[in-house]
Symmetry: C2
Subunit: 320 residues, 2 copies
Amino acid sequence: MYTIGIDLGGTNIAVGLCDESFKIIDKGSVPTLAKRDSELIVKDMAELSLKIIERNSLTPSDIAYVGIAAPGSINANTGVVEYSNNIQMKNFPLVEIFKKYFPAEKVYIANDANAAALGEALAGAAKGAPTSVMITLGTGVGGGIVIDGRIFAGGVNCAGAELGHTVIEAGGRQCSCGRRGCWEAYSSASALLAMTREKMHELSLKGIHSQLFDEEKKDGKVSARTSFNAMKKGDIYAKQIVEKYIEYLAIGITNMINVFQPHVLIIGGGVCNEKEYLTVPLNKIISREQYTRDNPNKTKVVTATLGNDAGIIGAAGLGL
Amino acid sequence: MYTIGIDLGGTNIAVGLCDESFKIIDKGSVPTLAKRDSELIVKDMAELSLKIIERNSLTPSDIAYVGIAAPGSINANTGVVEYSNNIQMKNFPLVEIFKKYFPAEKVYIANDANAAALGEALAGAAKGAPTSVMITLGTGVGGGIVIDGRIFAGGVNCAGAELGHTVIEAGGRQCSCGRRGCWEAYSSASALLAMTREKMHELSLKGIHSQLFDEEKKDGKVSARTSFNAMKKGDIYAKQIVEKYIEYLAIGITNMINVFQPHVLIIGGGVCNEKEYLTVPLNKIISREQYTRDNPNKTKVVTATLGNDAGIIGAAGLGL
């Protein structure tokens, strides 16, 4: 049997046809056009799925189930998107509407960060690990928890795993969620960008030259990559930024290890492309700071391997 | 059928005979005498269990299983106490030794904070709630996680749920675990005591009188209760201490709500005797700060109801 995994993003709808080992056999995407009527978005999700099924000489009856990863607060039990900022849905019965356009009995839905965590657990960096935690460093710090091979999305509602919204510095930086000092305000790619801009502003006021400015010129902008790139060329100020960033990241990761002791903790999002420049210093701090530093059984901290496919694959695994 | 729940503490061994609804029918205790040979401690645990069974006109064959709650790092799979400071055990096969002295096929073991959380979930403050998180405010901040009615003790090892060892103030107060700024360093009963002493020292240097000193005189010592008692009598300095304490406590609890969204979050330990003096201001902060402030389904934050029996009852439920 095959499954369909759909990753509904703010920009694109990505659909993958997966086999039983969660390999993507075929995939495609269409623009989300997020501002239009939600039903039209769902219709496109269904039509793209049907098109991919057909071009692989299959029919919907060959599909065991469809899984959908969607941004925002998702009620996996009712199939309702309770709230999503990115795609402007509010209490929208996405699963019910999807079934209007796609002949499937079993349609599952989950939050996209949770689905990505499941994807990495099924076929990526945490393959074979019963328990894993994934953090995604992007605009925010997304979180996904997999316990005994299943997503844990929260108890009283499906809005748990907001790992980025745990305070690591009481009274600290303002977070978008309204609290002060959230991990997200220190460890998101946006936070790294802000720290880089701050340092560059400071340096430029003092008339100090840094490779950071050369990187900005080369790329035409300052990004979350700027400080890593300048550091790799030996820039001391860039090194300070990266070290500070990794220090905060290590605090939050160590917190999650002390809570979950997962087999694997996966770092996803653009920043994880820095690979060993990120993980080597990070693991040095974590191995010193974690509660179980003397326990031979420890969490492996690794970068994600599935990239943008994690959502599709996780969605395709929701029916397990 | 009946079960035996044993709570092995640093001071006392408490044993309870429980019925199927986790009511304690009979219980007893003997001193742990923690510094003696560990096998003698386990022998006493077995003998007290047998005595209680006998005095209720039962035999060991009437006991479905025995559950043991023990302090420290417990491997629930192997029955080994990997490390415990309180009772000086290291890689000690407690379950195996217990079976030498007690004729039971099924003997389960768990960390005491985890067992207490299960106890409150089975018969206490979280009865009927599938998912709950318990924190115990004592010398430290202990944690226990119950998901779908079962203890979650960690993935790669059984040393998870160290909720007190999550940093809430980067670079903050020194914690006993070696990190700086752990929740435990702000929200344990010991931390409240330290904050009270600090404030009293400051006031006494300034020659300012406070009800805090009267409470000290009355009780013969400063304790974690001193500031709450003085506050209840209208003392402004005591109020400042309590407010600061509750502010930090709310940060950690809100973090755990954002991660787990448990049906119930239970506060145990001596401090929870302050009941609404603790929970009313606490809930005010949490309801403002939590990520799901607009979600109708929210975590209930309550104080524990089983007191010292939580460990016995949780132990008695380990075989479920």
